[in-house]
């Protein structure tokens, strides 16, 4: 395997290469949140590369309050049977028993997600132990590398789930890109201090400073609601986009889903973007993040 798949805590680079490999296959696509088999079928037909199976989309979790947990395996199973694309599902931060359930279910990718209520306020799951790959959220480079150190095979910038406001997704993507650029400019003797400041494993800091990129794919999530939002994130350096509430909270999910797929594929082609953006029903109403108190922000979960 290549150097990319050797991380300090990982003694099985082949296994890690398989996990990162699936993330590679999802590049350039759209991963959609779905709550039942019917929505999953709509997503697949629209060209989604994968679906995220969950009982309530983030916008509803936010509205309903209470404790958000892993979805009912029976409901996830229905979705697995309805589609042939990869199916992802979420477990709570630190809840490795939920992750074990999802692995036993044969889920293709586990999202250790801040959208659900955290089960551990200090530790994330040790992900190298699992055969199923994990994706984790991050708001900056240090957080991304801590998750990769624990075994995440894919990073997604958190954005603010269920908001329909892309501003945080943009902020987190720019933050990670800026952190990477900064590492590129450092001399070798400065990297240990950088690792200390980032709170990130030294070997991974060295990898990023040599390659100018994370050792796993970096996707974008949290607030993407329109084809242009998706194109914006792709041009800012996202390799795939997650669209949660944005599709099935809109007035015409099938058309919007297909339009977001088209905009993601042709994100560098304004003529195609124009076509994808034209004639859609209204997008989700959304929340203006300036009006959302900091303590209600999901992105602050995770450590």
């Amino acid at each position: 395997m290549s150097e990319q798949h050797k991380t300090p805590a990982n003694n099985d680079p082949d296994q890690f290469a398989i996990k990162v490999g699936l993330a590679e296959m999802l590049k350039g696509g759209v991963i959609m949140d779905v709550t039942d088999a019917e929505q999953a079928t709509i997503a697949e037909q629209a060209g989604a590369v994968a679906v995220m199976a969950l009982e309530r989309i983030p916008a509803d979790i936010r509205k309903d309050g209470g404790i958000a947990r892993m979805s009912d395996p029976a409901m996830i199973k229905n979705i697995q049977q309805a589609v042939s694309i990869p199916v992802m599902a979420k477990c709570r931060i630190g809840h490795f028993a939920e992750a074990q359930v999802l692995e036993a279910l044969g889920i293709d990718f586990i999202d250790e997600s801040e959208v659900l209520t955290p089960a551990d306020n200090k530790h994330h799951i040790y992900k190298h132990k699992f055969k199923t790959p994990f994706v984790c959220g991050a708001t900056d480079l240090g957080e991304a590398l801590r998750r990769i150190g624990e075994g995440a095979a894919m990073i997604r910038t958190k954005g603010e789930a269920g908001s329909g406001d892309v501003v945080e997704a943009v902020r987190h993507m720019r933050q990670i890109q800026n952190d990477i650029k900064k590492l590129l400019s450092l001399h070798q003797e400065q990297l240990m201090t950088a690792a200390k400041e980032l709170g990130a494993p030294y070997e991974l800091v060295c990898y990023v400073s040599q390659h100018g990129a994370l050792p796993v794919p970096n996707f974008s999530a949290g607030g993407i609601a329109t084809p242009a939002d998706a194109a914006l994130m792709m041009q800012l350096g996202a390799q795939t986009v997650f669209v949660g509430s944005g599709i099935f909270k809109s007035d015409d999910p099938a058309t919007r889903a297909a339009a977001i797929v088209k905009a993601t594929t042709h994100h560098n082609d304004p003529a195609q973007l124009l076509e994808a953006s034209t004639g859609l029903q209204p997008a989700m109403k959304g929340l203006n993040l300036n009006e959302l108190p900091l303590e209600q922000r999901l992105a602050n979960r995770g450590w």
């Binding site: 290469a17 398989i18 296959m25 590049k27 350039g28 590369v49 042939s84």
Partner: protein, 210 residues
């Protein structure tokens, strides 16, 4: 045709990894998302990704027929999802195969991601070729092969690397390993310069029968 531009279908999936492999072999590449881009190429790679997604994007971009026509004159290589698209029939009705090679394929033949694996493959290249590390990710498997197909590698008695004329299809992902022998071999099928190193492989392939 020698040293012409190699196209890589870039609708979705691991196209960047194929581009890196081709650059390592000193080849010019072109990302292909529309008919005009395809016209600039002498050969095409269809990468791994999701075959249902690619089918939909090929249809939406009116590329299905362009690629079929292209493949009657030009070499094509497909890996994983690309192999599914190159087949003549699949078990999945949401996928429209391009009939570039004459075999049938079954999607996810080994199971879900949990059942993904790596395996050392003996390539039927030279007599003493070291094994190739194949990364199989939710991989498809060839089920029925026409006699025109040559089997170049097998795993558990199932063909996983197959050739027909100047076309090549793999169940696994040669683009995810630094070992570029399979890319080099494919180039050697139609490109005299690339072929110098692997003529032996070429001769073997032409006599091997499934």
């Amino acid at each position: 045709m020698v040293n012409g531009t190699i196209g890589v279908l870039a609708l979705q999936g691991a196209f960047q990894k194929h581009i890196e492999a081709l650059h390592a072999l000193g080849r010019k590449t072109q990302q292909v998302r529309c008919h005009e881009e395809l016209k600039r190429c002498v050969a095409l790679i269809i990468p791994g990704g999701e075959s249902t997604t690619m089918t939909r994007l090929l249809q939406a971009g009116r590329l299905t027929n362009s690629i079929k026509t292209f493949a009657t004159k030009h070499p094509v290589m497909g890996t994983c999802a690309g192999m599914i698209l190159m087949s003549s029939a699949t078990d999945e009705k949401k996928v429209e195969p391009l009939h570039i090679m004459d075999f049938q394929v079954q999607r996810n033949i080994y199971g879900t991601q949990r059942e993904s694996f790596t395996a050392n493959l003996n390539l039927h290249i030279k007599a003493e070729e070291p094994p190739f590390c194949g990364i199989f990710i939710r991989a498809p498997g060839a089920t029925k092969l026409n006699r025109r197909i040559t089997v170049l590698a097998e795993y558990q008695e199932r063909p996983v690397l197959i050739a027909q004329d100047h076309h090549l299809a793999a169940s696994f992902h040669p683009e995810l390993t630094a070992d570029n022998r399979i890319h080099r071999y494919w180039l050697s099928l139609f490109d005299e310069d690339a072929g110098k190193e692997s003529t032996h492989f070429k001769n073997y392939a032409s006599v091997a029968k499934p």
